[in-house]
């Protein structure tokens, strides 16, 4: 549950629930960006993308916490593939936007077009959009128990992490993966985040954001504040979220007795996380771990890092991403879990009637 089902909006329409962002070096000279939506796709969520959705990878190239470069992906209406009513496809279009276009709207130069379920490769650019295994790993039941004890009993309980069950094992998501020459992004250290906005029939509205793992489900307990996070950008983080993050981590570390000065620890966490973006040295080995944040590889176990950061206690949920489901080459996500592999796995969330009607 990096950001899986983290808000009422996300639960209402998982197609616009941005779960995770990955950023790492792909084939030589190329950088890979990947975002996932539709948590528990096929069981709790649709397997399709929302056609009013604007799915964007945003890059701050100069350290001002605002995007100078954005890769935007939009999808067409769901169609039946070759007359097969059980197989759905959507056409998609990838655009590259700079300057003012990077910040708003759907404008930009077209880089690639294709349809979901298959890869597109052209001029050194590869794009995949479709069903994929969820490579996030975490013990959702333990996190829920941890948060409940914290909220209701004002108590830090490290024992809950002994549950050691990967709630996301054998579950799927839908992924958008773009691999392109690194020089199309730039050079040196950049910061990235991803958003999903609704765009089309009404003014553009950002509804989901991913800047670092588990910001909402671990560090922002208040649902209204989560919506603020999802609807704003990194440049506003210090003002709108800094005190929320510092107060929460001060409280948790104080209850844990893990620091002589919880308030100062909270401030240290807020300074570390805000603006909430994923830093990455282009062309380097990506890793999100205890030694630092430098992009995020598909196999990185981010849950341990973030629950430890929240408490200043070495915590582990005891589970790790299913690295057998990672491919060494594009699209890097291995095959989605089949119905046979998912036998016996209950839906993570009961679908709303609205979501149930979607393909």
């Amino acid at each position: 549950m990096s950001h899986h089902f983290d808000t009422p909006t996300a639960r209402e329409d998982p197609r616009i629930n941005l779960c995770d962002l990955y950023l790492f070096e792909g084939s030589p000279g190329h950088t890979v960006m990947a975002m996932t939506v539709n948590p528990d796709a096929g069981l709790s969520s649709p397997e399709t993308f929302r056609d009013e959705g604007l799915y964007a990878f945003r890059f701050d190239l100069n350290g001002d916490a605002r995007e100078e470069l954005t890769f935007k992906v939009r999808f067409g209406a769901v169609e039946h593939s070759n007359g097969d009513e059980h197989r759905h496809i959507q056409h998609f279009e990838v655009r590259q936007a700079v300057g003012a276009d990077a910040r708003k709207g759907a404008e930009g130069a077209v880089l690639a077009t294709g349809e979901t379920g298959g890869g597109v490769r052209d001029n050194g650019i590869s794009v995949f959009a479709g069903l994929a295994p969820d490579l996030f790993a975490g013990d959702a039941a333990a996190l829920r128990a941890f948060n409940t004890t914290l909220a209701k009993e004002n108590r830090f309980d490290a024992e809950v992490w002994k549950n050691r069950k990967n709630f996301f094992a054998k579950r799927n998501v839908t992924a958008i993966v773009i691999e392109l020459p690194t020089q199309m992004i730039g050079r040196g250290r950049i910061h990235a985040w991803a958003t999903v906005s609704l765009y089309g029939h009404a003014p553009e509205v950002q509804v989901s954001r991913w800047g670092l793992p588990l910001i909402t489900n671990v560090l922002i307990p208040d649902q209204d504040v989560r919506e603020i996070y999802n609807r704003t950008g990194p440049a506003e983080d210090r003002e709108k979220l800094g005190s929320v993050l510092s107060q929460f981590t001060a409280r948790v570390s104080g209850l844990a007795g893990s620091t002589p000065n919880p308030a100062e620890y909270g401030q240290q966490v807020a300074d570390r996380l805000c603006p909430i973006m994923l830093p990455y040295e282009l062309g380097s080995q990506a890793a999100f771990d205890f030694a630092g944040f430098n992009g995020r590889a598909l196999g990185d176990d981010v849950m341990d890092v973030m629950i430890t950061l929240a408490s200043n206690v070495a915590l582990s949920d005891g589970v790790a991403p299913d690295r057998t489901r990672i491919r060494p080459d594009f699209p890097y996500f291995g095959p989605a879990f089949s119905a046979e592999e998912q036998a016996g796995i209950p839906p993570a969330l009961k679908r709303s009637s609205a979501a149930e009607r979607r393909p």
Partner: protein, 280 residues
């Protein structure tokens, strides 16, 4: 008076040749005494940089296990950026320099946590350090003219304690040479641990990043930023912090269950690290 503490500039620096000679002698002597560079070694010197409990002053504390202060004259030097303070230790007199308006200095023996230790404590007025500047803080301890050891970041201290080869090199040099001299061996050690404990997808890349972060070996200190040696960052080091757990996590025990670590008690009055000394 046993104490000859003074504030000096870089002019105090010992020549590199002298350090090399003293480092070799120290290594040999340490092995003979059976305490150096092994997992069973007793506590090492520890360095702390923190804010005074009731003011904006900065406190820098050096704690040396008492059994490491030999009959030979022992001298400690604490470096804060380009500033250096030196003090003679070992006669067990609790002494301090007369206060001036900017720096208080204490040396003396007392209990720090569970250990009897010789301590050197500096309290620097808030005006002494620029809030936005970053200072590298480290200390070196000379036992007569035969041994030299140094101390900075506890992550490096842990590595040095557990690797004889690294220890041999480390104590001979100063931070200015750390990146050039120590990076290969530190990277190799961390990578091996990262692989053994499955810390990272790519142990070598992990080791390279961590080595770059901890070398040159010093406690980084930015007075105007939130302080703490924690999972959120390393800015200073407070005596009551559970530093060992963070070091364990970074060096290979990322899944270590949380263990209550013995931490030091901090007293609310100068010299903070040890209790109510009688100052002479």
């Amino acid at each position: 008076m046993a104490l000859t503490a003074c504030k000096e500039g870089l002019r105090l620096g010992v020549s590199r040749r002298a350090l090399l000679q003293s480092g070799i002698a120290m290594t040999a002597m340490g092995l003979l005494r059976g305490w150096a560079f092994g997992v069973d070694a007793p506590a090492s010197p520890e360095l702390y940089v923190f804010r005074a409990p009731n003011s904006a002053n900065t406190v820098i504390g050096l704690s040396i296990p008492a059994d490491r202060v030999f009959s030979a004259p022992t001298n400690a030097r604490i470096h804060v950026g380009t500033m250096t303070w030196a003090a003679d230790l070992g006669n067990s007199a609790r002494t301090r320099l007369p206060n001036d308006s900017r720096v208080r200095v204490f040396t003396g023996r007392g209990m720090t946590g569970a250990h009897l230790a010789e301590t050197v404590v500096l309290e620097l007025s808030a005006r002494e350090l620029a809030p936005a500047a970053t200072y590298d803080v480290w200390a070196e301890i000379s036992h007569g003219n035969k041994q030299r050891e140094r101390v900075g970041n506890p992550i490096v201290t842990a590595l040095v304690q557990n690797d004889q080869e690294l220890g041999r090199i480390y104590h001979r040099i100063s931070p200015v040479d750390d990146r050039a001299v120590l990076t290969p061996v530190v990277t190799r050690i961390i990578a091996a641990r990262a692989k053994r404990y499955s810390i990272a997808t790519n142990p070598v890349a992990y080791a390279e990043r961590l080595a770059h972060a901890i070398l040159p070996d010093a406690i980084r200190f930015k007075p105007g930023s939130p302080l703490g040696f924690s999972y959120a960052g390393q800015n200073g080091r407070h005596p009551a912090e559970k530093t060992a757990q963070i070091v364990d996590t970074l060096l290979g025990a990322s899944h270590t269950p949380s263990v209550d670590q013995q931490t030091n008690v901090l007293f609310d009055h100068f010299p903070y690290l040890i209790s109510s000394p009688k100052l002479t």
